[in-house]
């Protein structure tokens, strides 16, 4: 039995302990914002915050997260999250939208750690998130805009 906090609520899971967190979130908790893209931590569509750090949930067995705090796109809040979502909307970043939950979770974590990220910071934090529609140009612009919107 694994116990963890998901978006502020205590949850338990007593299925196969090998089950990746991604499928626990999607199939068992029915939170569908977190997406499957590759299953091998190459694309970042499954990115969630695990104890505040962005993690690829597709390669994180649920047995490893006992006692952890998990935040998904449905539960991400705070100054940085609001700034990122507002900038994402203003710049109309998404195309197909499938990777965007993961992109946003990575971007929020970046802003939480670095308040004014440089282009290099953005490259380091975001290279793990693939967007096949190649919205990268707008993702970069939106991260800068979000950073600028917080505290000038």
């Amino acid at each position: 039995m694994v116990t963890f906090v998901l978006n502020g609520q205590e949850r338990t899971f007593d299925g196969d302990p090998d089950t990746p967190l991604l499928w626990v979130i999607r199939d068992f908790e029915k939170l569908t914002g977190t997406k499957y893209g590759c299953g091998i931590a190459q694309c970042g569509a499954c990115t969630v915050h695990l104890d505040g750090i962005p993690h690829r949930s597709c390669v994180t067995p649920v047995s490893m997260i006992d006692g952890s705090d998990v935040v998904t796109i449905e539960g991400v809040t705070g100054l940085e999250a609001e700034a990122i979502k507002a900038a994402w909307a203003a710049i109309d970043v998404p195309q197909c939208g499938y990777c965007q939950s993961g992109q946003i979770m990575s971007a929020v974590a970046l802003l939480q750690m670095v308040s004014k990220p440089t282009d290099d910071d953005i490259d380091s934090a975001m290279t793990g998130n693939i967007c096949r529609c190649a919205t990268y140009h707008r993702i970069r612009a939106a991260i800068h805009a979000a950073a600028n919107s917080i505290g000038g």
Partner: protein
Amino acid sequence: MANQDFGITRRSFIAGSGLLIAIALAPRALKAAQTGVPAGGGQELVPINTFVKIGADDTVTILSKHLEMGQGPFTGLATLVAEEMDADWSQMRAVHAPADNDLYANLAYGIQGTGGSTSIANSYDQIRSAGATARAMLIAAAAEEWQVPASEITIEKGRIRHSATGRESGFGAFADKAARQTPPAEPRLKRPEEFVLIGTDLPKLDTRSKIDGTAVFTIDVMPDKTLVAVVAHPDHFGATVKSFDDGEARKVQGVVDVRQVPSGVAVYADDTFAAIKGRDLLHVEWDLSKAETRSSEEIAADYVRRFSEAGIVATDEGNVDEAFDMAGVQTVEAEIIFPFLAHAPMEPLDAVFVKASDGSLDIYTGAQFPAMDREVAAEVLGMQQSQVRLNTQLTGGAFGRKAQFGSPYMQEAASVYAAIGSQRPLKHMWTREDDIRGGYYRPMYAHKMRGAINRNGEITGWDQVIVGQSIMGKVDLDDTSVEGASNLPYAIPNIKVTSHNVELAVPPLWWRSVGHTHTGFAVETFVDELLSKVGRDPVEGRLALLAGKPRHTGVLRRAAEMADWGATVPEGRARGIAVVESFHTFVAQVVEVSVDPEGIPRVHKVWCAVDCGLAINPNVIKAQMEGGIGYGLGAVLFDAVTLGTGGKVVQSNFHDYRSIRINEMPEVVVEIIKSSQRPTGVGEPGLPPIGPAVANAWRSLTGTPVRQLPIVNIVAT
């Protein structure tokens, strides 16, 4: 397509009473949605005609006959309706239309379908007419209610007004009454100078739900007790199941059943992980007797051998043989090899089947050809089509992958559903490995180019041979193999283009921009080489050969101006340019490139000029140029699906079928040429110029022409 009739028929305006609303479903709203009530609200929408519904809260919902896969039809088609209805943008909503080849046909194809950058082009008159019709019916309803002449009623930003009596209303109050009005025989459409919304940067309708995680894709549809199924596929094309041992797979917690299906062995489980784990533990023996066993290298060698055989003539102007035989003629030659490419949309193929209590069936999937998918599913399941509802979902990219004649994907999914015979809902999904190894690739092609330069330094002959699979499965000329080459825009007096159709067990498919993925590269790199041989500047030289092609020269000149072509470039960098017409849209791109530490091209910036006729939504057009550039650049730099020795697919996932990532994405600047021509598409045309522009810059920088893609392989060898 320019000469096709996009006129609308009266039949398409019969108000769609009883139409099901195919909507993006929130899982908890699934039950409600099956009864035709939209997610997120209980209110009924009143159908005014086939494409427009009005809610009591004044919202206008358009039924998009085109699949929203990121390219923007929800927003584009809603703009056309809002413009003619004089609606306010904040009122507008969009959902997918039901599967119906008659009501929702793509007027360019005659069946319901999304592709070929036609969504706006084929809908421009039809969907504006739908909006204008709805507007006229609202006015007629208001005139009746208020007992005033219709001619005195105005609509602005979604408010219906009669100024003399001071009456005012939103749309919702008149929805029912409007639906009962007789549609005007010929609604008046606005003249372009009257447009208020068309041509402005309206925010996309689907953006919000794609930011907060509430957008629902097929993979997110999961009613209670849904079974998840994955299929073990062979790793050779054309292989079939000889035998299998499912003993270990069945021991996996959550695995419910294992069944052989025509495409492989299906594992059914209570959850996704159990299905995948079970599949990993299957032992399948494959029959390779009919499989493709050649490697990509062997296939390429076969293609090159075909160059010397007589091909199918696509273009024959002047006398090419004479042009090359003339005394003093210099001949330039190139052979270019293109690999198989997977589309690799972020959301792999998937479909959900839900049996209703009356025995009818709901299918949820992201379909570029929804009515065809429904027909195939009904056939496989032995059901009447009228008993099957195909609910098109938002889809996580497609790039052509979700448009297949004969719907082979739906054939597999429906076979998997049929094989278990369960009353439980079923989700069939492909993993990324299935996607990369699953075929339906952009085919391999080989091009042989010959150019003749006469004594005066003029390009007098062009001889191009194209070898590859026919995407359309043709024996004779397949236009999709030669488009972009057979209509070479350059004024060269002697031109010959021939093609060879090759048969392989690897199933082919169109991939974003179809034939232009390779013809654009071959034509634009080779003309660039010929121009440099005769000492001409890439821009000036092209312009000189493009007399009488104002839309080519328009974008070419504009891109060159934007980039300040001819200005000094920082040391270690070079510029390249290319111009391609595809899908009746004209795009020129200038790139600035250096050599990165790994020895491959680093693209710093792209200047892009596009002429797509009248711009409906500049924001969407720019997004599609940016996306086309990124998608195309990733493929040209990194991507190939390779058949190894014995014909087994080498790549399997994003670690070896690379995608471009944010650190590799250039800065992109896009300008749209102002035009009053009919609008054309933008989903594909941003792609073809980027590859040749980069290759041209690379040749200028390193002296090495790119003869084989992806570029990363050339550098590595």
